[in-house]
């Protein structure tokens, strides 16, 4: 295959270049294009700088810290609020007299049932 030496190519591109330049010069430049371009370049520059400045923190570390903080707060709140929200361990009666009557009623019921059972047992064995 024949090799082509670029340096020996006899192509005169100068007149073409001049023509292109002339054509480009004839295109009217919109007003304020330079300012707008500059503003845009500044904007890009600013954006790239912001990205560049942003510190490369270890996201995992901060996430873990935040998670453990929330966990501790959650547990703390749970235990702090538990006694007030747990009705199961809150005294039903604030009046000792009423509490006394109810406790007596419960114990009497237990005693009566125990006696009933014993009587039945005694009757059965006699």
């Amino acid at each position: 295959m024949e090799k082509i030496d670029i340096n020996n190519l006899d192509i005169n591109i100068l007149p073409l270049e001049g023509e292109l330049k002339g054509a480009l010069e004839r295109i009217p430049i919109p007003e304020g294009l330079e300012e707008r371009l500059e503003a845009k370049i500044d904007e890009w520059d600013e954006a790239s700088r912001t990205v560049a400045i942003r510190p490369k923190h270890n996201a995992k570390k901060y996430f873990a810290l935040a998670a453990s903080f929330l966990l501790v707060c959650g547990i703390g709140l749970y235990f702090a609020l538990a006694p007030t929200t747990n009705k199961g361990t809150t005294d039903t009666y604030s009046d000792p007299q009423l509490a006394c009557r109810e406790a007596e009623r419960a114990l009497n019921l237990l005693s009566a049932n125990l006696n009933k059972g014993l009587t039945q047992y005694e009757q059965a064995i006699n």
């Binding site: 547990i75 235990f79 538990a82 747990n86 009705k87 199961g88 361990t89 809150t90 005294d91 039903t92 009666y93 000792p96 007299q97 509490a99 006394c100 109810e102 406790a103 007596e104 419960a106 114990l107 009497n108 019921l109 237990l110 005693s111 049932n113 125990l114 006696n115 009933k116 059972g117 014993l118 039945q120």
Partner: protein
């Protein structure tokens, strides 16, 4: 360093859990306090100690004051709701099985069934009495530092 901190955290959590699990009452029945159509009564040790001076001996031979002193808590759960009754009965069956309660007495009559269970615990003993009559189920849980002999005293006439 982080591991040490983590270990400390786990230890504190474990201690907190242990201390909160040492309830004076039977925990399984606490949830009935918030349940609809269920009456839940809780009498604490503090209230019982206040109430013991107000007791009047209604049953001859029964040492009501002594019983009050030995009790840590009384829980009374009553319901006439069909669903709640079924749930309560299952709960009793589960608790006595899991916590290895001994059945002390069972009285079956035409329209009533009474079961009395006893658990002699190292830290606290429990008497659980479940009554099922007509359309009502009630469970009374006595927790305290009593022995089987103290229960026998309740039967003396």
């Amino acid at each position: 360093m982080n591991y040490k901190l983590f270990h400390k955290f786990v230890l504190i959590l474990a201690l907190l859990t242990t201390s909160f699990s040492l309830h004076a009452q039977v925990e399984e029945f606490e949830k009935y306090a918030d349940m609809k159509n269920v009456t839940y009564v809780y009498i604490s040790k503090a209230m019982l100690s206040l109430a013991k001076n107000l007791t009047t001996p209604s049953v001859p031979g029964m040492d009501m004051k002594g019983a009050f002193t030995k009790l840590n808590a009384i829980q009374i759960i009553t319901t006439d709701n069909k669903i709640a009754r079924a749930k309560l009965k299952t709960e009793v069956t589960d608790v006595v099985k899991r916590e290895k309660y001994d059945i002390l007495m069972q009285v079956d009559e035409d329209n009533s069934k009474v079961k009395i269970y006893f658990k002699d615990g190292k830290k606290q003993s429990v008497i659980l009495m479940s009554t099922d009559e007509n359309n009502e189920t009630s469970v009374i849980v006595f927790s305290g530092t009593f022995k089987i002999d103290d229960v026998k005293k309740l039967t003396e006439k």
